[in-house]
Amino acid sequence: MAERRIRRARDPLGLKRALSDKLLPGLVAAMALLAALALAGSRGAEALKNRWQHGAAAAVTVQLPPEQSGRMDEALALMRARPEVAVAEPVSPDRMRELLRPWLGEVPALPLPSVLELRLKNINLDPAPVQRALSEAIPGAEVEAHGIWVARLAALARSVQGVALAVLALVIGVAVAVVAVATRAGVASRRQAIEILHDLGATQSDIAGRFARRIGLLAAGGALAGAAIAVPALAALSGLAAPLSGGVVQPWSALPWLDLALLPPVAGLIGWATAQFSVRRWLRRLP
């Protein structure tokens, strides 16, 4: 009883009741979940983009048939001599296995083709003369140019990332609006109490601070719940997406933990700042 009385006394505006501890946190939780999905989508698209851009740089691969695999050095020298070629490097068997793992799984005994990666001086150069020179020297050698496709995929990943960031900005905007509306409702239902505190000598920052602390806390709590729901959702999604990003399936380490951990404090800060602004704006009408 005594404890309850003190808690009440610390809340002279009655904000525990005026600002519902269900509606606002619930809305913020839903938005935090959306923000987590958008952030994870943006991170995933970014990883794909980097991977593919790297691929686009090594835009041409040269494959020697197994019976010619002894002539790797010769092929390398030939390629490095071509004016169109900036860099030519052999692909190590380890890297090869890693590239093929999502498609073939772990097959240590499989005979791997000998592959060179070329980067042309300019992505728009025609690889046909390189192909002709090579197949004259080493019969059966194949040149495959996929730079244009990889570049398009990277552009796609970039726009997916852009959309995800736009969704994130939208979620933040809606969160600010929701907090502003909730604050205004709280102020309206406590208008008399605010005026009494004001007349008794409470400062603007005192009154605005009481609202801001309460709303910041509710928003942070809601975001914590939203982030908690996001963890299993994202783990499931990243499990589904793993083959696409060519990685090993390790959903727990693939989650954007830092982003998730930042959601509650950021939501709390947004709530706090929005409430400060809305209440101070309202208080301007009092002398």
Partner: protein, 224 residues
């Protein structure tokens, strides 16, 4: 000291502009430590004048000085500290309905940043002073009109304000309680507080003769 110089007050009108002057051409000085009755018929402007005095309202013209400080619209940041030196008994009490009598009285001390330990004896003593010992935990709705008014009075004086402003504080009290309250206010006044009490009870004024300020239709018609 409270000094009004050519003060006028207009309330906002419903159309968004300003209404007619509720108070006009107020010029008077209340010296430190004075006790002043504020008299006038209902609607004469007593409450409006007191609202100016305790800074719940700023004048629309003229100069206002309260407790030695100029009250200026462009210096609002200075007003809260000044308000905390003024005790107010509102005509409609204005207690916070979800706070106990104790917490309502403690509120000005908490707003001033007093520690919980040091405010307890003051609040208890003040509630005893207005005859509400044992009712500390009651909510306003559990108290009679007169008891609520006494909580409001205790809240007004608990900070030992330099200026005490009371708007018809005896309105809900029987004559015995009213005399007792006036004894409290004159006691505060003897301890150095400047007191202004609005009333339309000539009886009460006759029992506690003092300087008076009479308003009619928003103008001072008598001061002395």
């Amino acid at each position: 000291m409270v000094r009004f110089t050519e003060v006028g007050l207009r309330y906002p009108s419903p159309d968004g502009g300003l209404g007619p002057e509720a108070l006009s051409d107020l010029s008077f000085t209340l010296p430190d430590g004075s006790f002043t009755w504020l008299l006038g018929a209902s609607g004469a402007g007593k409450s409006s004048l007191l609202r100016l005095m305790h800074l719940a309202q700023l004048p629309t013209r003229g100069k206002l000085e309260v407790l030695g400080q100029q009250v200026r619209a462009d210096r609002r940041a200075a007003l809260p500290a000044l308000r905390r030196q003024i005790g107010v008994v509102f005509q409609d009490f204005r207690l916070l309905p979800y706070l106990s009598a104790f917490d309502n009285v403690a509120l000005p001390l908490r707003l001033a940043g007093r520690s919980e330990g040091s405010l307890r004896p003051d609040v208890t003593e003040m509630l005893r002073w207005v005859g509400l010992q044992g009712r500390e935990m009651s909510l306003p709705q559990q108290l009679s009109g007169g008891e609520q008014q006494r909580v409001a009075i205790a809240r007004a004086v608990v900070t030992r304000p330099a200026l005490l402003v009371a708007d018809e504080p005896t309105g809900n009290l029987d004559s015995h309680q009213a005399r007792r309250l006036l004894a409290l206010l004159t006691q505060m006044n003897r301890l150095g507080t400047t007191v202004v009490v609005a009333t339309h009870s000539e009886d009460l004024v006759a029992q506690f003769p003092s300087a008076s300020l009479r308003l009619e239709a928003g103008r001072v018609v008598h001061h002395g």
